[in-house]
């Protein structure tokens, strides 16, 4: 039963990858992942609700006397929660893709990649050691490359996929170095041994380990400074974005922090850094999301922002709240992405919100879904997002020394509400800017697209309420005044109101803002992060690689003292030697005489 949760997605990926043309993959992969989802529901019941964690040692992975690692599975409440999220969202994405990608000629490949992605993510969350986690970690990176690059004829998709892979690799190096240090400090990579050895480890080394682990999380979870791959990853098909940004890939970083929570607890510095980066990410992404015009990029930046919340709350040592928000966010973000896909599907692939509008009458169902998702994202009372988002801000305020995180988070909540309303308004409510032919053709999608939306909307409404007791049973709520408690909520309401006023009554205000080139350009281009990274890092490294290491060292110095230099030296000296043979007899005789006499004198001198 427990191994099946790994095996079925793998089988699904292999069958649809190799024999997909013959079998027809849509139904097969969808049903495989749905069965996995049901199994993971059972696992959740057994491990989380009944409190019986399960450990399975499958086979020896590494055995070098001093350092042993098994290929083992660990199912505890954290893992099973992640499993529920991953498999449910993945199953719905699979079902959705059968409708959304039905025109695509490469659907077996797509389904295979999706299943492989799910499998590797399950490997990541179920591992009981860091090495196995790393397999999943690299595997989801690889699958994100394959999926973003799914339409491989598009140069932008190629570039985005490479960017995703390479920026992730920066974080992966952090994770690898952390693993080396863990081996040096603890002599093992298993979570259970590490957490029991924590008291015997030097604090300084622990800080370094945690910083490196956090670097890994920063890359994977798209925190500030390594976030630039996330919005570019929108080049993939929409179900891919839903899978990457809602349930699987970006949550891996947060999962790593939660899993390494005992380590992070040992280092105050790292916790502060984590909160700092998380809060900044939330704020940064919220400001950027408010100035985007691409429907998917708005949602991508909101993902970035919500991940900032999750990381931020990890920094104040409330890992269960972070996991809770991760779960909730998975549901409503998948809903948002998939409904965005539905909208894009309806308007013939147009992604620019400025060229939509007025869709509310033609696709009311999708509108409802976007509304539910957005309200849940905003943290509207009694929807899923409300239970975790406001709690995060309260807990952050409870730690007085990093109270700025609270204010940054609250302001991001305002901006989140604002851009959610903006998204709804520009897409559905304002007068249409669509081409007339397209607008008349707008229609609800088929059942395979709407059914997952419906299920996810239930998730977005109910999951927070249903799971909050199981997830938050050991949370200590901070004692703070009710003004502070209510502030984030008031701010989000204010943001919504602001959005309504700006877009329904005074449209000129936002247009004026959009006309402001410096300010709007700054936010629209994500605080110029791409420019900064490209100009001050990538370009220099690129030039260094070409000029210094390639031209000067590889093709220069090493060639001269290496093959080419030796060859030229030999050629020249042999030419000189053979020039001695002038062809004239008297020279030969002279040489003969000189050397014979040298030989004789040398012999006499005893040389």
């Amino acid at each position: 039963m427990y191994i099946l949760v790994l095996l079925i997605p793998l089988l699904s990926a292999i069958i649809s990858g190799f024999w997909g043309r013959k079998t027809g993959t849509g139904v097969l992969t969808s049903s495989c992942i749905s069965i996995t989802a049901i199994i993971s529901g059972w696992i959740f019941y057994e491990t989380a609700l009944n409190g019986s964690s399960t450990y399975l040692k499958l086979w020896g992975w590494l055995d070098s006397e001093l350092f042993t690692t098994d290929f083992g599975l660990q199912f505890d409440s954290l893992t099973s929660t992640m499993l529920i999220l991953i498999t449910t969202v993945s199953a719905l994405v699979h079902i959705y893709s059968t409708g959304y990608m039905s025109d695509d000629p490469h659907i077996p490949r797509f389904m295979s990649y999706l299943s492989l992605f799910t499998f590797l993510m399950i490997v990541l969350v179920t591992s009981d050691n860091y090495i196995q986690l790393f397999i999943g970690w690299e595997g989801v990176g690889l699958c994100s490359y394959l999926l973003i690059n799914f339409w491989l004829t598009r140069i932008k998709a190629n570039k985005a996929a490479m960017k995703a892979m390479l920026i992730n690799r920066v974080g992966d190096i952090g994770l690898l170095l952390a693993m080396f240090l863990i081996i040096r400090e603890f002599g093992t990579l298993e979570y259970s041994t590490i957490s029991s050895l924590l008291d015997f480890v030097d604090r300084k080394n622990l800080t370094v380990i945690c910083l490196l682990l956090f670097l890994g999380a920063v890359g994977k979870s798209a925190q500030l400074s390594l976030h630039t791959w996330l919005p570019d990853a929108m080049e993939g098909p929409t179900p891919v974005s839903a899978l990457i940004h809602a349930a699987t890939m970006v949550t891996a970083g947060v999962f790593l922090i939660i899993k390494s929570g005992p380590l992070f607890e040992g280092s105050f510095l790292v916790l502060t850094v984590v909160t700092f980066i998380g809060a900044l990410t939330a704020f940064f992404a919220a400001t950027t999301g408010a100035a985007q015009n691409d429907l998917k990029k708005v949602i991508a930046y909101s993902t970035c922002s919500q991940l900032g919340y999750m990381v931020m709350v990890c920094g104040v040592s409330n890992y269960s709240i972070s996991l809770f928000h991760l779960l909730n966010h998975g549901f409503f973000k998948a809903l948002l992405f998939l409904s965005a896909g539905s909208v894009i599907h309806a308007v013939n692939g147009e992604q620019d919100m400025r060229k939509m509008g007025g869709l509310i009458r033609s696709i009311p169902f999708t509108y409802t879904m976007v509304l539910i998702g957005s309200l849940s994202l905003i943290g509207f009372p009694y929807l899923t997002g409300f239970y975790s988002k406001d709690l995060i801000l309260e807990v952050t305020y409870g730690k007085y020394y990093i109270v700025f995180a609270y204010w940054l988070g609250s302001f991001s909540a305002l901006l989140t509400a604002f851009y959610s309303v903006r998204l709804i308004y520009l897409t559905f409510i304002t007068n249409t800017n669509t081409n007339r032919v397209v607008f008349r053709g707008v229609d609800e999608s088929s059942l395979s697209i709407t059914f997952p939306l419906l299920l996810l909307s239930f998730g977005s409404i109910f999951v927070g309420y249903l799971v909050k007791e199981t997830m938050l049973f050991n949370t200590i709520y901070p004692v703070i005044s009710s003004y502070i408690k209510i502030t984030p909520f008031v701010l989000s309401l204010l943001g919504m109101l602001l959005g309504f006023i700006v877009f329904s009554r005074t449209e000129g205000v936002y247009n004026k803002f959009e006309g402001h080139r410096v300010l709007y350009g700054f936010f629209n281009s994500a605080w110029q992060f791409n420019y900064i990274l490209n100009n001050f890092f990538v370009n220099y490294i690129w030039k260094f690689g070409h000029l210094i290491t390639y031209r000067i060292i590889d093709r220069g110095v090493l060639e001269i003292i290496g093959p080419r230099g030796a060859a030229q030296l030999l050629i020249r000296s042999t030419q000189r030697v053979s020039n001695l043979q002038s062809g004239t007899v008297f020279n030969y005789v002279l040489i003969m005489i000189v050397f014979t006499s040298l030989f004789i004198f040398g012999n006499n001198a005893g040389l």
Binding site: S578, Q581, G583, V585, F586, I593
Partner: protein
């Protein structure tokens, strides 16, 4: 007793060697210098056989004269054949087999 003649032999040998080295024009002079060197050597053999009171030196001298005669005969034959082919016997033009590549 006859040691002062050794110097004559050596001087003759050196003159023969120098004749080969410094001669750039005429190949016959070269052959003659070689003959001179051989004669100087057989002269030295003779001197030494007298000094050491030993016959082997004289036997060697006779053999060297024989070899020298044969050698000059073959050398002159080569010279004639060469002259037929090239039409000249200047030593400086004897440089077809150079070690230079270019």
């Amino acid at each position: 007793m006859f040691y002062e003649y050794v110097a004559i032999g050596v001087v003759l040998f050196v003159i023969g060697g120098l004749g080969v080295v410094f001669n750039r024009s005429n190949i016959i002079i070269m052959l003659m210098s070689i003959e001179l060197m051989l004669l100087a050597i057989s002269f030295l053999f003779l001197i030494n056989s007298v000094v050491a009171d030993d016959l082997i030196g004289q036997i060697f001298a006779i053999m060297i004269v024989t070899v020298a005669a044969a050698e000059s005969a073959i050398g002159l034959a080569v010279l004639v054949a060469y002259y037929r082919a090239r039409g000249t016997i200047i030593v400086r033009s004897l440089n077809l087999l150079r070690g230079k590549i270019f």
